[in-house]
Amino acid sequence: MTFEIENVSKTFVSNDSDEEVLALKDINLTIETGKFISLVGPSGCGKTTLLRIIEGFVKPTEGTVKDDGEIVTGPSNQRGFIFQNYSLFPWLNVIDNVIFGLNIGGKPEKESKERAMKYLEDVGLKDFAERYPHELSGGMKQRVAIIRSLINDSKSLLMDETFSALDVQTKHKLQKQIHEICKEQNKTIIFVTHDIDEAVFLSDEIIVLSRRPGRIKKIFEIKLEHPRNRDSEEFKDLISEITQEIGELEDE
């Protein structure tokens, strides 16, 4: 068992008006080690907030998150986090970005760079090792951000709409890669997305959150064999079922 999320609620208080926003309400969730979990739901329902609470960037107003039995009090290198907007360090070139976490952990630079080159080769960026982030396309930046997190061998990986800005081909390629790498290493993944196709393609479980305040509305277990066939009837049925579930929420 990796994550135990117990009675988590989050209220935001805005600074200028005393208005309170209840973003999450009574979230209870257990996530087993090695599972790929997707969080879906209408915009503003608190997906990002929940992910940030799990990492430890934000404290819940109520409740606790446990990672392997330990209460989360702040970010940790045991939980990799991949942001929606790449978040590469603009002053570092690609390879130095990739080994940032290893450097921080005091690993010898030469070995780190050798490992980084292997990862870069895997995602087709070997020739871009010396380039700077501003010289890369959005898809390339996102690949760098992904391997920058993967290379640290954290036990889990939290991803916030990581593939949303990519074209379909790149997206599908990266989906396959992330799935393979994570199953090989038995990583726990929590994946926020708006893309139901993506969620069904990758997940062991899909968690649908309700409109604000976000609560767990429904959990779908996806038992289809990997690699999943997007054209199969079951795949399509699941997509329409989940889309409908979210759609109802958006109409309410």
Partner: protein, 250 residues
């Protein structure tokens, strides 16, 4: 690209050349203005050659640049260090805010009386005035740079397990560097200004001193040489910082 640059450079010269020609005709050819009021280009050129031959010009330039760099160095050490601390620790900033706000608008030359009382005559008072003039722009732009660090980059580093000191050296400082450098660039202009004013009052050397004393001797040619030298030093500093800024592109 190179062609474009060369043309651009040539074009820049047109107006100054025309102005020098007009100047030549007014002051030297028709002698409409007496030399003690304003020198012509030939007077300036003569003074320039004399100052070079006697070695005085280089000595004064060296004196002035030495003071500028010395004062800037002190101001940078204090301004950047303090700026990073105040930018990072909000409470410390609140604590110092009022003092900074009151000291900052005081023109550096207002410190001249105290600088002479405290440091006498020579390099000391000039360096002190330069320091007072430069430390605030450097301090404030450093604080600004720290504040503008993308919070997502800070979170990213946290998720890689960065300690507080690693956060400072690996994220906050590199991210603030462009702001620090533009603060330094502004400060060099102020430093030159302070040096010249300082040299005119509490000093017996440097270009400011040369400008002032040569007018006393009606050697207005040397005065203009001094003024132009300041301009050229300013351009050189500006060029150096522009080159540095090109290298820190983020």
């Amino acid at each position: 690209m190179n062609n474009f640059r060369d043309e651009y450079k040539k074009e820049m010269l047109i107006l100054p050349i025309i102005l020098i020609i007009i100047w030549y005709f007014i002051c030297d050819y028709f002698q409409l203005i007496p030399v003690y009021m304003f020198p012509g280009p030939t007077d300036v050129a003569t003074s320039f050659v004399k100052l070079i031959v006697s070695g005085k010009l280089f000595k004064d330039i060296f004196e002035t640049i030495y003071k500028v760099l010395f004062g800037m160095l002190l101001a940078s050490v204090v301004g950047i260090t303090l700026g990073i601390l105040l930018g990072w620790f909000n409470r410390l900033e609140t604590l110092c805010k009022l003092i900074i706000s009151i000291l900052r608008p005081i023109p550096p030359i207002a410190w001249i009386p105290f600088s002479i009382i405290w440091f006498g005559i020579g390099v000391g008072p000039a360096v002190f005035i330069i320091f007072m003039g430069c430390v605030f722009p450097i301090l404030l732009s450093t604080i600004d740079g720290v504040h503008r660090t993308d919070p997502v980059l800070i979170e990213a580093a946290e998720s890689f397990g960065a300690s507080n000191s690693q956060m400072l050296t690996e994220v906050i400082i590199p991210s603030s560097l462009p702001y620090i450098v533009s603060g330094l660039k502004i400060a060099t202009g102020i430093a030159l200004m302070c040096t010249i004013s300082g040299e005119m009052i509490g000093s017996s050397s440097g270009i400011g001193y040369m400008i002032l004393t040569s007018t006393n001797l009606f050697d207005t040619g040397s005065t203009v040489v001094g003024m132009l030298v300041i301009g050229v030093i300013g351009i050189i500093f500006d060029y150096i910082f522009t080159k540095i800024q090109e290298r820190i592109f983020w």
